[in-house]
């Protein structure tokens, strides 16, 4: 009996329990969501640190194809990072959701969101991946509109329409893949492609997948939904969307499919490099014009996703490790920034950066949290983000692309510039004589914990159990379809 289904079943059952208890047991939802996300975080850390090879689980029996779940280095690494972030966001959301009437609905949707995230990460066949992706997508459309204010509803509708079209493209690609290969099991798909090579139908499927998953990851031609959804959503939801959802639905799914199933070739690599560079430069330029705090963070998210795509496209071991490390650092620091922005909005009554001043004095927890997050994302030396950006830039030079290394370095300076321009008056401006209400423990603890993680995140480069997991993750990506096809259980062609 494997333990893997627990990762999906625990939050799923919790969602049903919260929905059944409903209004009757108000405290239950808040307690249960913290307990469940804490359990998931501890469980995935234990799973990741004790991982030997891979863990597989297949339901069903005989000829019938069953649900296949699989955890290898990459998914274990992602599970640890994402569940850790989700745990702190869950603690914060207990305090944040107090202002809503139907709190239990928020926690119920949050729990379903966790189900989907864990499901995508451990899915061993493409259809389950698609299914859990839709679970995350539909719950996040609901969560964006949870405040039912005009902006939230508008953002939710636009996000849902674009997301639905992207899902249709993914499903079309999946259908074509099934008709071409006769299987949707990821290891079997890898074997089929290794046997037949990348033919013309596969190229068409690649295009469909880049459109579909690229929209979920918000690469630049497909990024239009992100500034709407991230700025209009409630703060914990923005943190989950930016810190978890675009990483798992977009980047994890893309790297799993293109590195381990289809196999990277020069065309795909150049597509990643081009999209990544355009995302970096365009988003960093657009971010200068923003006056809304959350929109600024949203554009910065697009830019950092561009860095990760660039690192994946370059494809040297250094660049891929850098991309994974940047994914982790950005997850920690961007959820920190969004959670802090929620606190700032509550305290100051606005998100307009021209109207907020002197945060470090009046609102120390949110102020210093924002400072740490911004410094980490813009890549100042002691913070986590510096090491990952450095690794990506160094990887570009190593891989023989000095031009892209220069663009990436230039964009890093641009990032620092727009954060400095926007945030220096916000954080250190003239102090207003406004008595600060102290942030409660439910807000202070997750913010401080995420700030510490953003600061020391890159310490996983030093030898130790976390380093082993991290190396295992980048080795999974580097070893390509050969790695995945060894788990193939035989296929009909």
């Amino acid at each position: 009996m494997s333990v893997l289904p627990g990762l999906i079943l625990v939050p799923l059952v919790a969602a049903f329990v919260i929905a059944l208890a409903g209004e009757n047991l108000r405290r239950l939802g808040a307690g249960l969501i913290v307990a469940v996300s804490g359990f998931l975080a501890v469980f995935s850390l234990r799973l990741g640190l004790g991982l030997q090879g891979t863990i597989q689980y297949t339901s069903g029996h005989g000829k019938l194809p069953g649900l296949m779940l699989m955890v290898d280095g990459l998914s274990a690494f992602m599970l640890c990072v994402m569940n850790l972030v989700a745990f702190f966001v869950a603690i914060y959301s207990v305090a944040y959701a107090r202002k809503y009437v139907g709190q239990w609905k928020f926690f119920c949707l949050f729990s379903l969101f966790l189900t989907g995230i864990n499901g995508v990460l451990i899915a061993g066949d493409l259809f389950n991946l698609y299914l859990f992706l839709e679970v995350v997508a539909v719950t996040s459309y609901f969560l964006v509109a949870f405040g039912t204010d005009a902006e939230g509803l508008e953002a939710s509708f636009k996000y849902a329409v674009m997301g639905a079209v992207a899902s249709a493209f993914i499903l079309l690609g999946l259908a074509l893949f099934y008709l071409y290969a006769g299987t949707l099991n990821l290891p079997d798909m890898a074997s089929v492609i290794m046997l037949r090579g990348v033919s013309k139908p596969i190229l068409f499927i690649i295009v469909l997948f880049i459109m579909g998953f690229g929209l979920k990851a918000s690469f630049v031609p497909f990024h239009a939904w992100l500034p709407y959804a991230h700025s209009a959503a409630p703060a914990p939801v923005s943190a989950m969307l930016s810190g978890v959802s675009i990483k798992v639905l977009g980047l994890y799914a893309i790297s799993r499919l293109f590195f381990n199933v289809i196999g990277i070739n020069p065309q795909i690599a150049w597509t990643f490099i081009t999209i990544g560079t355009i995302s970096m430069v365009a988003a960093s330029t657009l971010a200068f014009a923003q006056t809304d705090l959350k929109r600024l963070y949203a554009y910065s998210s697009i830019g950092q996703v561009g860095y990760i795509a660039l690192g994946l496209g370059i494809g040297t071991p250094m660049a891929i490790s850098g991309a994974l490390l940047h994914l982790m650092n950005h997850s920690f620091s961007k959820s920190l920034l969004f959670l802090a922005s929620g606190r700032i909005e509550e305290a100051m009554g606005t998100r307009d950066i021209r109207k907020i001043e002197g945060l470090t004095a009046t609102e120390p927890v949110a102020g210093y949290g924002t400072l740490v997050g911004a410094l980490s994302i813009s890549g100042m030396p002691p913070f986590g983000g510096f090491w990952s950006k450095f690794m990506i830039i160094f990887g570009c030079v190593q891989g023989g692309h000095p031009v892209f290394a220069m663009i990436a370095a230039f964009t890093a300076i641009l990032t620092l510039a727009y954060y400095f321009r926007a945030l220096s008056p916000v954080l250190f401006g003239v102090e207003r004589a406004k008595p600060a209400k102290r942030a409660g423990a439910l807000i202070a603890v997750p913010l401080s914990a995420l700030a510490i993680l953003a600061l020391i995140g890159s310490c996983i480069l030093f030898p130790g159990p976390f380093n082993r997991l991290f190396n295992e993750a980048s080795r999974t990506l580097l070893s390509g379809p050969q790695y995945l096809s060894q788990f193939s259980v035989g296929f009909k062609s």
């Binding site: 259809f127 509109a145 005009a150 508008e154 939710s156 509708f157 899902s167 249709a168 259908a175 239009a224």
Partner: protein, 112 residues
């Protein structure tokens, strides 16, 4: 071959509705059409001419049977589509309450 082409036409009709129509309800219908086109394509791909459903009795062997997997996948994806449609219609109603219009070009409080 014609059926596949008609599937593509259906997909494009849905895409046209999503991209060009200004009424929220028409956009939702467009998304429905896109989903139907993809599901139809999936089921069509698993069909073989002159074959029957793969439900076998105990001592029976069916030589020509359709591929059951696309049908299973399509039925799951129809359920996902239902959830999405419910969400979109709900949000559409709430948008009408807030903005007093179904016109997507006039629902623009968020500046881009």
């Amino acid at each position: 071959m014609l059926t596949y082409f008609l599937c593509l036409v259906l997909f494009c009709v849905g895409l046209y509705a999503v991209l060009r129509k200004r009424n929220i309800i028409k956009i939702i219908i467009g998304i429905g059409i896109i989903e139907y086109a993809v599901n139809l394509f999936f089921v069509l791909g698993g069909y073989r001419i002159g074959s029957r459903s793969p439900i076998e009795a105990v001592d029976q062997v069916i030589l020509n049977k359709v591929d059951p997997m696309p049908q299973a996948f399509a039925s799951v994806s129809i359920v996902v589509g239902l959830a999405l449609t419910v969400l979109l219609v709900t949000v559409g109603i709430r948008i009408y309450e807030k903005y007093g219009t179904f016109d997507i070009t006039r629902i623009n409080k968020l500046k881009g």
